[in-house]
């Protein structure tokens, strides 16, 4: 059963345009000019109950605009949305009781209060009886490992701890769907991994549908089974994570700093992207060669520093366009 139904959704923004120079600035006061930015263009998709879906795309692709329309914050120009059978724009308050939202770039917690007081606050605004709030706080405290800092004012928490508390605050009212808009933005890799594990645990424990946006592929690789890629306001791919991995995430980028110069040439499964003597950047096709194989070629004793990453999202998108003949 589809829990989110989006049909032919579009959103335009009217943006003020200011031309260069003093003369044009004065002109803009009398006759302001606007341009129409088409942030979301005619997108359609459905999300099933209990799914953990990734909605990814580069900055400015239309991810956050879509999530804001799904949660009733923005009004679409065209198309229809049904979240749990509710029209988010017409029955925003009714929907608010059923969904939870975390916007990685915006704080919803009271910074001068402790996480515990914040959770009590969220319990009250969602009309949950006091005894149930206490029980829920206790349960989520264990699940998200908040014991050490639940009574520390939010302003004194690290970013990772704060994001954990933000997620817990949005789960107090037991929402059926959790919208996570770039929840790991600005976090270091270790904390990111920790947050991902906790989100996964939460999905398993409560069967909450998770709608996650990110511009970081690795963010969703381990979390989601289905992925929607959006670019320039349009859906460019709606597929399983397995297929995405097989077709587009089959390459790893190895960036290595060497002690001694290595003479390496392109060979089956390995492409040299950059060779600046001691700094080497290679692309490994993991369907043909393992990353370990590639490292052996470099000689591990010769490596000073190494970074292994996924292919950037922008490259995946251009690959999709190429394969589908969209460009």
């Amino acid at each position: 059963m589809a829990i989110i139904e989006v049909k032919k959704l579009s959103k335009n923004f009217k943006v003020k345009v200011k031309e260069k120079g003093l003369k044009n600035s004065l002109k803009a006061i009398i006759k302001p000019k606007y341009k129409i930015v088409r942030a979301v263009k005619n997108i359609s998709f459905e999300v099933e109950k209990g799914e953990m879906i990734a909605f990814i795309g580069p900055n400015g692709a239309g991810k956050s605009t879509t999530i804001k329309m799904l949660t009733g914050i923005l009004y679409p120009n065209n198309g229809s949305i049904k979240v749990l059978g509710i029209d988010p724009q017409k029955e925003r308050k009714k929907l608010a009781y059923e969904i939870g939202t975390v916007f990685g770039q915006k704080e919803q917690l009271w910074t001068h209060l402790t996480p515990y007081d914040n959770f009590k606050f969220f319990g009250a605004i969602y009309d949950i009886p006091e005894s149930r709030v206490e029980k829920k706080i206790e349960e989520l405290k264990m699940l998200f490992e908040l014991d050490d800092f639940i009574n520390t004012p939010v302003r004194n928490l690290s970013l990772g701890q704060r994001i954990r508390c933000e997620i817990v605050a949005s789960l107090i009212h037991e929402p059926k769907i959790l919208f996570l808009d770039e929840p790991t933005i600005g976090l270091d890799p270790v904390v990111k991994e920790n947050i991902r594990t906790l989100i996964k645990r939460m999905n398993k424990e409560y069967k909450t549908t998770v709608f996650l946006t990110s511009h970081d592929v690795s963010d969703i690789e381990k979390l989601c089974k289905r992925v929607i890629i959006i670019n320039n306001g349009q859906v460019v791919l709606d597929d399983t994570m397995e297929n995405l991995k097989y077709h587009y995430l089959n390459k790893k980028i190895v960036d290595a700093k060497m002690k001694e110069r290595v003479n390496l040439d392109d060979e089956d499964g390995i492409t040299i992207l950059k060779d600046k003597g001691y700094n080497l950047k290679i692309e490994v096709d993991i369907q043909k060669r393992s990353v370990a194989d590639a490292l052996k070629l470099l000689n591990p004793d010769n490596i000073i520093d190494i970074n292994i990453s996924n292919v950037p999202l922008e490259d995946i998108i251009s690959d999709i366009y190429k394969k589908e003949g969209k460009e």
């Binding site: 914050i73 001068h112 605004i125």
Partner: protein, 263 residues
Amino acid sequence: MRKYLFIYKSEIMSELQYVFNILIGFIGYVIILFIFLNLWKYIYNDPNELINGYNMNQMIWYVIITEILWSSLGGRKLCRKICDDVRGGNIAYNINKPYSYIGYSLFSHLGSATIRGILYIILGMILGFIFLGSFPNLNILSILAVLLSGILATVISTLLIIFIGLLAFIIEDSNPFYWLYSKAMLVLGTIFPIEYFPKVMQPILKYSPIYVVSYGPAKLFVEFSWTNFITIIFWQLIYILIAYGLCTILYKKGVKNLNVNGG
């Protein structure tokens, strides 16, 4: 209602972190009172002489009360916050919560105004007693009536400032409107009672917000009467309905056209 009381309580808990900042604001309050004390002592040859129906003590108590109401309001901060919320898109993150943004802003602001109000009432009463040596003739019931009128005045002021802040939906920066409002309040509502203004202006001022947010509670404190109390409370309730209605209309219209780009 429970959720709004919780918002109010949370803001009090949060504001308690800033008690020392409030104490610094006391300096300005003491200076203003000292200036007016000397001004009225200079104007009144005899403290019992009546000018426009007020003796010297009543005039000084009038300024003490209106200054308590104004200082405990902290309107500039509220207007700036609402204006920034609208311009910066922060308002969007309150939209999908199960409360009204206006109710949230009102009760959270009342929370911080409560702490400031308590501290300024204590300071004002101590200063008034030190400067004048006595309190106006009030019993427990009339004190409670004045307090009620003061609370309603703060509710109206808060709603009016929320309205000014929400004007940012129409114009890019609503802070200049707050500047105009605060100056009008200072000149027409804080320093002099309505009776001090020219006869032609008095009916206008009596129907203006000045009557309900400043003049009313101060007049009750210096010269209490139940007839006045009923009239003032009646107009205060009418003003609350009007101000809340105006805020709701502006908010609903503004939210429909809200532009929040990106994350």
